[in-house]
Symmetry: C2
Subunit: 115 residues, 2 copies
């Protein structure tokens, strides 16, 4: 189930042009438009998954699949030797910007504190 | 499969005392001994999962289950309203300290940059 007004749902459906660097039908990946590191990719479930803590089991599974997809993307873009960080922000204290679950893949420089 | 010399494996097996705040048989959680936020909990697969990018499918599944477990723990400790951040560090650039996959749950204050 996607949300007609959600920007990530629109990208997933191809209604907003944003080249996908990965897509397995459940999870897709795009480059972050405001990159915080040389590699900054977002892993996003096609289904509209809102707050992780409230997610139905199928939605939580889709969110968890982002971790496995991130491992694949990390291999694809060649950042596994240097290392990488995966980040999920949920809610105000974490500075979540889009209320559709997404996982950040950050790499390409020595990363600082986790927050 | 656990590693006899790995500190997280030893905690998982109960050989090193560290109170578990969550344990579903696949994933357990402990408080970080050097907390970077008022709530700082580690979600850890019982199986010794090394580099995520090299993980066998069963290991990657165990790692992904940490995300679902983190949602449960976030509910249990009452940080879902304020928000929380999940972080996985892999390798040198991310500052990974223990080479057994783990997911950080950070909450309880306004978090800063992701790295």
């Amino acid at each position: 189930m996607t949300d007609p007004n959600c920007i990530f749902c629109k990208i997933g459906r191809g209604e907003i042009a944003s080249p996908k660097v990965y897509d397995d039908g459940v999870v897709f990946a795009i480059k972050d438009i405001h990159p915080r590191a040389p590699t900054h990719i977002l892993l996003i479930p096609h289904a509209h998954v809102g707050a992780l803590a409230d997610a139905a089991p199928q939605e939580a599974d889709a969110a968890a699949r982002c971790v496995r997809a991130a491992a694949q993307v990390a291999r694809d873009v060649g950042v596994t030797a240097g290392g990488f960080r995966l980040v999920v922000n949920q809610g105000l204290d974490a500075g979540q910007e889009v209320p559709h679950f997404h996982l950040h893949l950050l790499a390409g420089r020595r990363l600082g504190a986790m927050g």
